[in-house]
Amino acid sequence: MIFIDPHIHMVSRTTDDYEKMRAHGVVAVIEPAFWLGQPRTTVGSFKDYFSSIVGWERFRAAQFGIRHYCTIGLNPKEANNERLAEEVMELLPLYACKEGVVAIGEIGYDDQTDAEDRYFRRQLELAKELDMLVLIHTPHRDKKKGTLRSMDVCAEHGLDPARVIIDHNNEETVADVLDRGFWTAFTIYPGTKMGNERMVEIVKQYGTERIFINSAADWGKSDPLGVPKTARLMLQRGLPEADVRAVCYANALAAYGQSGQIREEDWLDPEPIDQRQLYMGNTILRGGADPLVEAPEEDERLIIE
């Protein structure tokens, strides 16, 4: 089986992680632009960060046979630094149209302040103008209200829910998000977001339509194998392989594939120019990817709580 992790912050991860991810069947990742542990104080830090996720990180991923995509946006936490936020807004059009940029994101609410609301709305307008998809970060605190409000604002700005991904859902938000026609993403992140046993139950209850999972692994205690481990657990707990494929691969591809910037051929049959630029003759992916369901190493616990 092959997997996509459609939300992971690889700038914070090591080459060991890339190796493990590839060994467990991850063929593509999407790196949403977000905050770093340390708040940024100048626009140059944003510029170099955006350049990293379209440049160096893409190259680094490719060395391990993993295709790397990203989203570009001003995250809600740093939208509160308004002087800086204005300058970042001017940078966004420079990056939004680059190859492999699949959406504007992560945008939305953190503390749900007025400044966050303002920059969220301006970026929704930018996405409309550039005909781009949107990835929405739902807040950790006051999550249900923040999630509903995010969807209301999208509707107010006339966005098509089929072109918006609402991320970090849980048992409390899933029904509303599905009902309103948005893509419904779940983050398997130990401690704070979803555990993978809970995720199995959600798929059993709600099915697989418009549902997909990610690890959102970053600089915190998180697990870059969140997607393959959850796939394995789902199979163990009796979900059919087609459902596992939908939730761990196909739905993310269908959602972000609408951008035209991520295609299955990218990893199954890459263009010669990409093979030269990204893989340097690496043949891992040529001629079709072999199914990979490998047992986790002994020191790796399957359950993520």
Partner: protein
């Protein structure tokens, strides 16, 4: 260094690039490109150039150009040393957009290029560095080229170091030497460096010999091509190194040592070669063995 004289027929370069795109890209894409080139040439706002530059693969695709020997000869005539055999259609399109920028004000042109270099993704960086020999105001991009050589992305490094005449003409000796040494270090094929023989120099030769010693101390091998820029400056104890390589298990290494010894100005070199490898000496003398016939691995691109 003094200002080199190179003549680039930029109008011809543009005509060639535009013609090569025809059989590879669809007509809507070509129409889009031509419209953007016109708008940029007419002084469209900078953001239009930036978004068009980023969007090229969406309109033209990313297929390789299909160039014939005759095309490559034309390329070399329009810009000496230009070898676009591995160019793709998006790279040609991006280069045409850069060449469409107004060139009346050198500072403005360089400023725009600086911004696009600083924010470039992998594919854009490769296209930009490949296009350096074709741009106006070439001396203004010396720092940029030296910066490109410091990259850790092999594909970006190769875009400037291989099949690209810019470094040969415009890099100072320090930057040139770093480039050749780094090509050895990252395993890029030296024979694809334009001007490798012409710009060989004693400092580079010494650096390469030191590098070989460092690798040997770690029980690692070096590419046989390393000895090519060393040969013309190989004297004294370096001949002992070459004698050692002449006794290698690898045929390519033995051949490289013979070629380097044959190029050495030191009279003792001929004696070493005659004593240790008379067959190789004969092969060099007859022209059967040259750096071009040397069996070295080649990377794609």
């Amino acid at each position: 260094m003094t200002t080199p004289s190179v003549s680039v027929d930029r109008d011809r370069v543009i005509a060639l690039l535009r013609a090569w795109i025809d059989p590879v890209a669809r007509s809507e894409g070509r129409a889009w490109l031509d419209e953007k080139r016109r708008a940029i040439a007419d002084g469209a706002p900078a953001w239009q150039f930036f978004t068009a530059f980023s969007s090229v693969p969406r309109h033209l695709g990313k297929d390789d150009l299909r160039l014939t020997e005759a095309d490559l000869a034309e390329a070399d005539a329009a810009c000496p040393g230009w070898q676009p055999q591995a160019w793709s259609v998006d790279q040609a399109g991006r280069t045409l957009l850069v060449l469409a920028l107004p060139q009346a004000d050198a500072d403005a042109f360089v400023h725009t290029l600086d911004r696009v270099f600083e924010t470039a993704d992998v594919g854009e960086s490769v296209a930009l560095y490949q296009s350096l020999p074709l741009l106006p105001f070439p001396p203004r991009f010396r720092q940029r080229a030296a910066e490109g050589i410091r990259t850790n992305m092999t594909s970006v490094f190769n875009a400037i170091a291989l099949r690209n005449p810019y470094p040969r003409t415009w890099l100072d000796e320090g930057a040139w030497n770093q480039m050749v040494l780094k090509a050895v270090f990252v395993g890029s094929p030296l024979h694809q460096i334009d001007g490798l023989d012409e710009r060989a120099n004693p400092r580079l030769a010494a650096m390469l010999v030191d590098y070989a010693h460092e690798r040997w101390a770690a029980h690692r091998s070096v590419t046989p091509e390393l000895w090519r820029p060393v040969g013309p400056f190989a004297e004294g104890v370096v001949l002992d190194d070459l004698a050692r390589v002449l006794r290698s298990d690898s045929a390519a290494e033995r051949q490289a040592a013979a070629l380097a010894l044959a190029a050495s100005p030191d009279p003792r070199a001929a004696e070493v070669l005659a004593a240790e490898a008379p067959d190789l000496r004969e092969a060099v003398r007859s022209g059967a063995l040259t750096w071009s016939t040397l069996a070295v691995p080649t990377r794609p691109g």
